[in-house]
Symmetry: C2
Subunit: 338 residues, 2 copies
DNA sequence: ATGAAAGCGCTAACAG
DNA sequence: CTGTTAGCGCTTTCAT
């Protein structure tokens, strides 16, 4: 075994290449003025030594960071994962690195996370959702870096916004089901006080039903968000047993809608003939399930790409005014409703 | 608008609290010797100023990092997400932060990622998989920090290992199906040269079939890993059309198995009566699908927790010998096979 | 195109 | 329990 010697620094590389550390530093940048020959020598020396650039020192000295802090409710969610990938791809060109934190759908956890992330001095912060603890808001406002709230259209944004109205998106589903002749429509979601997007969707359901002059009393809440497939199935079981005349059900997400679908299948209840089912998010499973699921596509990847584009823009122009980029979700009608 | 003044530093806090910066530094540590009164004053001053601790400077000066670099093939995968959550939880107690990178199932992308992550001077590196480019290996070996390879049992580990044999796990499925009387068994996977765990599973399938004296010629490969639900469905369609006498099919993952299942349902092919289907990973969908899916549980969360525990251990004892922690996957038989 | 000096914000090391 | 000094590895700034 080699003894764990100290890793080489720029000074070491400079010594081998017989230049000053400053020249080494320049050689590692793109557009800096170093002769081709010198740069070649330096990069070769670095490779020989096994030198690895130290971003920590670089960031400290230059007082700027190539981190973008990002919070999402859950890493195990295809919608947020798509947003994250879009975001990632969009910022990678600029050499920015994403520092990810998962809030577990809890704004108090989000507060802790934001505090932790800010210690790393990110160049910008992206948070999923528009509802935060007062302290989290204050932290973000004081951070003196661009803030982008996504997946929501907050009434009082902290900074920039790339999102959509969850309530309006659910209205698309209600309108569709009502147009198909359904009046007894139920909503399956989680306990409302945690997942704010879920709560917005439920509120949107109630408002849309009332707009049609229909009663919005068939509300099933099962456990803490995010609702799993299994919980979707449990909710459907409860719905069938307590309100058997229900004609259609809107679920807060596609996974729970799929759970609801399988519960119907186990009980021999025909979908959509006896009951229509709709989900939210246009996850892969919505298209593949048999019957396929009617749902709403909020364009998660697009949110990520737009966020990245906005990010690069505001990092270049720090004093640019706060922007709100609204995404328009799409209704996708499939076999599970008619 | 407040002008974007420079954020306060420890020196500013020290000035307000009328102590030295060193005392402020100590007040922010846990076990350091600062009188309660002084600490109280300092923390109050910090809160008033809106001071945020600068980990970048701290890490640079102390030459140690609270980062753990982690690479996973995909963020949009419930198995890896579970591992990540276990890892996260286990590591959070020590105040360590995960610096995540996604390789997109590509060892060249992994190499780029590892290089980028090492620039941040992580205190340890966790990589998913045991196959790497020569350069990636070198980078990890020279990094002088603990390395843990997970989700695999590499023949020549770089450092520590927390994983399982993908081949042995698939053997459980083959043995099960053979015991049920199946002999014409197919394997659905992706193009083998990218996803090494997928390739291991296919190799395990072939070996297990041969051990039973059966032909392992029914191999369907569809597209680049990870195989989606839709690709699972496409593969099943191909299988049905080209090898209609197939009695059972093992899919490289549960999502693709679910896709295969729905294709059968669309074609009116009874599962498991006419064909048995098995997946891999014990994703939520395997238990909820109707019929539910026979699969293998590799205990992703357990891998994460064990990795975290090992990590904390080796960070305390840097010279501890390389460890290999083998996880034993479980066969889970459900409705989709008989 | 290259170099010298200084310092980013914090803490190790040593004092008291 | 608290303070002083120096310096982590890099880059800003100012020279040449």
């Amino acid at each position: 075994m080699t003894p764990p010697r100290k890793p080489p620094t720029m000074a070491d590389v400079a010594r081998i290449a017989v230049v000053s550390p400053m020249t080494v530093s320049r050689a590692f940048k793109r557009d800096s003025s170093v002769s081709d020959a010198t740069r070649e020598t330096i990069l070769q020396a670095a490779e020989t030594l096994g030198y690895v650039f130290d971003s920590t020192a670089s960031n400290l000295r230059s007082q700027k960071s190539d981190f973008v802090a990002v919070t999402i409710p859950s890493i195990n969610n295809a919608n947020f994962a798509d947003t994250l990938r879009g975001l990632s791809e969009g910022v990678q060109a600029r050499g920015l690195q994403i520092l990810l934190g998962s809030t577990n759908y809890d704004i108090h956890e989000e507060e802790r996370l934001i505090e932790q992330l800010l210690r790393r001095r990110p160049g910008a912060v992206v948070v999923t959702g528009g509802q935060h603890t007062p302290r989290a808001r204050r932290l973000l406002e004081n951070a003196a870096v661009p803030v982008i709230e996504i997946w929501d259209l907050p009434a009082a944004p902290i900074g920039h916004v790339v999102g959509f109205s969850n309530a309006a998106a659910v209205r698309l589903l209600v309108d569709h089901l009502v147009a198909k002749g359904c009046t007894k429509i139920a909503f399956i979601g989680g306990d409302a006080d945690r997942d704010t997007r879920g709560a917005d969707r439920r509120a949107g359901f109630i408002a849309a039903m009332q707009a049609h002059g229909l009663e919005a009393t068939r509300l099933i809440a099962v456990g803490a968000p995010p609702i799993s497939m299994r919980e979707g199935a449990e909710a459907m079981a409860r719905l069938i047993e307590t309100l058997p005349d229900t004609e259609a059900v809107i679920c807060v997400s596609d996974p729970s809608a799929f759970g609801a679908l399988t519960e119907c299948q186990r009980r021999g209840i025909a979908v959509p003939d006896r009951i229509s089912i709709a989900g939210f998010g246009d996850y892969d499973i919505a298209a593949v399930a048999f019957p396929s699921l009617t749902t709403v596509n909020p364009f998660p990847r697009e949110i990520g790409l737009q966020t990245a584009a906005l990010l690069l823009e505001v990092l270049d122009a720090p004093d640019s005014p706060a922007r709100v980029i609204a995404i328009t979700p799409d209704l996708i009608t499939r076999e599970s409703s008619r």
